[in-house]
Symmetry: D2
Subunit: 429 residues, 4 copies
């Protein structure tokens, strides 16, 4: 249960209910993430895949108002009856909704109004919490994790927006750390073999439905890299003609490269000196060689691996390797600010499994054996997206600490790269 997880973090001996604090912490972070945004910044939609920051704030609030307050708090009246239509995302069972591609047209309600709605709903949830049923409490918990997902999206979506502005404005202006030394060459760590169990069984704390059921898988002899691929290694790929030689690429990937004239990770721009700059949450800066490459698509990750004579890990390989690491360790998001992937620390063995960058696996996002989605609208959470996407693992520098787990399955289409997505290599033994 998440209560345990939360408690564990701060205090081994918890006497009181951790859910209110978790709720408050999550809700507070969302508001902090938009602190540097104007009303306009929070309203515009960078592309169909992205949503406005304001929409994220409202949609996560809609989730609590609908599934907790409306359904479980007798007498609760909707704050504004017209807003559910605006802020439902994709829950067909909840009826018609505003078209996704038009989310950026909603200049009203304004950011301030949405923040007021948030305060109203927060107060109502907090007031109701002590008396909520276990079912309703589970929905609050789900809503918090749901909101944490949107916190990451909020950051990547606002980054996508600011990247379209020729002024390249920094979302967060904080001093940069000095460049890290180049990490040692990749070392290959042999993975477990034979039958291992992966997935969540619902007994160890919160997990999304798609993370289970826990089940045995058969691992083939393999090794996994001790760290993600760095920007410096990626530049070697570029310099070796990586984006110009079709034999490195999946057929769909090559079509995508040509159709979009792709020649570097998203947000990279040629500098005047021939090097590379990258646009990030802290503005436009020179690419940092030692940091993990990010904002790459599955196609790019796969092509790089082919070029490197390796492959992507399967999600079972990844998860079995990650089991021994603390999912709350690593470069994850603790506070509002310019999330940045960091260079690998010196060390032995596998590192950086959690945080920094999501790692593309070679596994398609499909149901585990025995998977059944939950009944009702919340059952639309994960299962219905199980076609055409690939699994990413491990969380990123923009993932709220506490949100990710070894069993956590993120998923995107192979061409998408506006997330903090990177790559760790694997190979057969």
């Amino acid at each position: 249960m998440p209560e345990k997880m939360m408690a564990t973090r701060r205090d081994a001996a918890v006497l009181c209910d951790p859910l209110p604090a978790f709720f408050r912490q999550v809700r507070t972070l969302s508001a902090a993430l938009v602190a540097s945004l104007s009303d306009a910044d929070a309203t515009v939609q960078a592309m169909d895949d992205a949503s406005p920051a304001k929409w994220h704030l409202a949609h996560t609030t809609w989730f609590f108002e609908t599934f907790v307050l409306r359904d479980h708090v007798p007498g609760y009246a909707l704050y504004d009856e017209r807003w559910p239509f605006l802020f439902n995302s994709y829950y067909e069972a909840e009826g018609e909704r505003h078209a996704r591609a038009r989310r950026g047209m909603l200049t009203r309600p304004a950011l301030d109004e949405v923040l007021e709605w948030r305060a109203h709903v927060d107060a109502a949830v907090e007031a109701a919490l002590p008396g909520l049923s276990a079912e309703a409490r589970a929905l609050v918990t789900l809503g918090c994790h749901h909101e944490q997902q949107h916190q990451e999206l909020l950051q990547t979506d606002i980054l996508a927006l600011f990247a379209l502005n020729p002024l390249a404005p920094a979302i967060w202006a904080e001093p940069r750390t000095p460049p890290a030394p180049a990490p040692a060459p990749i070392r290959w760590i042999e993975g477990m073999r034979g039958i291992v169990e992966i997935g969540e069984n619902g007994a160890d704390g919160f997990a999304f439905d798609c993370e289970g059921p826990r089940h045995p898988v058969l691992l083939h002899p393999h090794a996994i890299a001790d760290r993600p691929v760095t920007n410096s290694e990626w530049i070697a790929f570029i310099d070796d003609g990586g984006y110009r030689r079709p034999d490195h690429w999946l057929s769909d990937g090559w079509t995508w490269v040509k159709a979009n004239a792709v020649e570097a990770p998203l947000y990279w721009r040629r500098a005047a000196d021939g090097g590379w700059n990258a646009f990030a949450l802290d503005g436009l800066h020179a690419v940092r060689p030692a940091a993990p490459v990010t904002h790459i698509s599955y196609y790019e990750a796969e092509a790089f691996a082919r070029w490197a004579g390796a492959r992507l890990p399967t999600e079972a390989e990844w998860e079995s390797a990650a089991r021994c690491f603390d999912p709350e360790g690593g470069n994850l998001l603790d506070r509002a600010g310019p999330a940045r992937p960091c260079a690998s620390p010196a060390g032995e063995g596998v590192g950086q499994m959690f945080g920094d960058v999501w790692e593309w696996t070679g596994s398609a996002y499909l149901p585990y054996p025995g998977f059944r989605p939950a009944a009702g609208a919340v059952g639309e959470y994960n299962g219905k997206f199980m076609s055409g996407q690939f699994v990413l693992r491990g969380g990123s520098c923009a993932t709220p600490r506490g949100h990710v787990r070894a069993s956590y399955r993120n998923f995107f289409y192979p061409h998408q790269r506006w997330q903090f997505a990177g790559v760790r290599l694997a190979k057969d033994l």
Copy 2:
């Protein structure tokens, strides 16, 4: 004020310079038009054809800063060297520019920053005015008329944006006037015949280059309606299957109707009682039967005319009929507020030539005999748009008073209808 300017034009002995007042009046009105808009309202772009309100404010300022201050005021330093790239519209001679379809991505600079830029440029222009050359003064005048055009676009573009919001927010909340009585049936007024002159000769005051040269045209026997078509008449067209019978329509028009499932003017929505509401600058209200129909495309105007056994006037017919009317009379824009077409006043003879709604003519937008665009960037103002568009005449309720003339040629593509465009019938005799 434009009235003074008009007077000045005709009076060789100028005692006081009307240009500063004209400049100030125009610049002030633009700011007033966005008074009810939030930063977000002013930033979002409703569609590719439209621009954000903030962009209009900035682009008109760019015009003065570039063509007047930069080119004619020694020592003037650009307010921000990065902004011309953002706010050039289509002047190829002025270099590369931000893509039109991405104008809505520019959340920075914010509305306030743009307003500050406006103030800075206003002060610089006003300071420079007394010493400007005649050439530079002509550019200030051009800039004012240019800005008046953008004032109208600003209103129609923000209307297009708010129309996409399911909340149907009113841009201006002002009490509605009581419904007007139905006007008398259309009366046909015989037009001039034989050779008449149309167009501007550049001697009577400001005009855009495309309005001249003044030249003779041959008018065929014809009559023109005494007023525009009303909403009530349009409803009769709808009820008679006007949008369902291909024989009323141009081939391209019928394709457009089917592809877009058009069944009424833009912004009309079926009311619960089976009648029609329309979304306007003052929100969603029942269609007012006596007012001129607006937000129709050329295709619709032409189909209606065919259905009515009539045709559209040519621009020469229109202009010859309009010569006897005061272009500063009529329902034009005097101040920021909810511009609305009004019902025809009782009266005899042709009416409502100026104001209320732009009137589609049956004339393609093409150069007059002897037309030559001006040299340099400002020569891109009109001439390069002379293909595929039709001429509209007369101004609308959203056109600043003083901006329109009998010779004024507005132009849009035949499918476009987000302007205050309506229709006046004509017929052969």
Copy 3:
């Protein structure tokens, strides 16, 4: 034969009926035009704008079967009741029809079956002709002129198809004539001024409805070039950066140039020696410098004229200049074979008005004063296309001799260039 028909027009005393011979001549030429085509050649559709050769053969046959045999010959039974759905082009009054973009999917009926249908319909029309009413005879005449239009389209559509084949197969293999000497530089011939009449009055022989009513127009002082622009002159335009400088172009034209990477007339290809080849009905050959340029769009014609300091003629200017020439003279189509524009012959005064290349005018395709389309399905022939297109005049090397007249108005969209379209310059005096 059209010559006879023309004679008939002028001779009130008709001794023999020319219509059967005209019908036979037209129908025979169509079949001859496909003589070198395989079933596959005649079936495939090169693009949405074009139609398969087989479709042209069938559609023109459908016209006679529907409007003459079905409607005016009692007891006539349709050859195949399923075929009208396939071969109606755009006559809404004739009901639903096969989608235009899918004409190339109709591998059945085969070319041979369509030719059999033609023979069947030909026999039925010829048998019926002596007893047909004047109304029905007018439809036969219309059908013949309609088919002549499709004869030209058939040639340009099959050219468009073969141009997509990397083998560049020649449609007609005939020896080329030796290159012509370069014509003298363009001379400017002063045009008529003042009021002249243009258009057909229906009394002088066949004309399409859109060519009338005959009406006075006012001509402004102008001059017209004595010949069309040549390939050699076009190469000078290219070499001077004509396709790279936006200031030559209409705004829509420049967008079109960039979107399609246009750098030369359609079908031109860079030769190995840096010169230009062009693909034509007789295969791929070096561009002939002295011949009129062809396969250019309105945008290109207009840009060239701007570059040359001239403009396009209006259709009234063109028609008034053409009145003194024999529309059956010139390089027009007499027989099936590789139609080619030819170099201007030596001579004085205006030349090449008829034949060689259609000449883009600067006039939008709009109704003449007093124009009313015919009632019924044949009324859809012309009038409904009167938006967005420009008029071309004079016929081309692919226009059957006898088909074109001084009053003849051809029309295409400004981006279209798969017709034999060229340009003659004009200028203001």
Copy 4:
């Protein structure tokens, strides 16, 4: 013949070389498959996903000419040096090629010319076969299996083309068999559990590279249906609102249903009596209730399974179940003619694993552990398509007998349904 080949596999003592006979049998069948097609039928491309029949004939010939004759037969001169550009499909290593979407524009070379080329290449291969190296022989074998794949595509592509013809012409006119009795309700057969091996090891006869390496997989407790889903069962799904309820569908699937207004399998059309007809290789006929449903997408298969409370089998489940069946038994293609899925025969246990319809599995098409594509151009055969597609198993009525195996992995995108694709259910135990 493939029978012999199979024998060869199992029998170490080979007395005669089966490859020439296999080659001849494959090449002969291709030609027989186009026997009823006209030149036009064989030339037109129904859609981007499909290719013209003539192209299939030519491309398979190009494969032998390029990889066998050009590369392994000294002195062989290409039949026509321009044709490889036309008929390479997607082998980047073989250079530039004609755009896939324009294959239908190639009316030349004609069908007859391609058949002559085939004869020429056949003679050259047959002459060379006795002296070919083992490497070259392997390429001949690969070419034969490659051509068998194209034989199936040829049939489905020509079906797609004829389905666009409103005349609904039958490709093969053969009498239909009387309707089969309805099969018994689906019975669930328990599958193997624990570790089993799947995939080919290259030692048992021909297999494509993607079928290996053979490797252990872990099977979870499950059952598999004894037969595919029938048309009658599919009609129950339709009648129960299967295509109208989003909760049955994957998110991408529901988007696809709405965007394409899908309401039944491809080629189904409402009959006048409210029932269903289906267009097939033998024309338009009433849907046969007892036969397996076909021409469904993955999305439809998955939605049906959800509706039925079941799921799709994984490819490992399918393969382990199929191991005990003869892959040369079942309703597969023996000769040119109207391939049709047949009703399940009476019987016990799992049936119809091979033939009738390809069966969508729930497995994404991804590499097996240890998979490495072959070097060179033929290495582009399979591996580069491993993203976004799902695996289908078992072959269909249009798959040449001898071509399919238990390990055979076919793959298509989840929206594609012009193949003979059906569905067999599975469930967890």
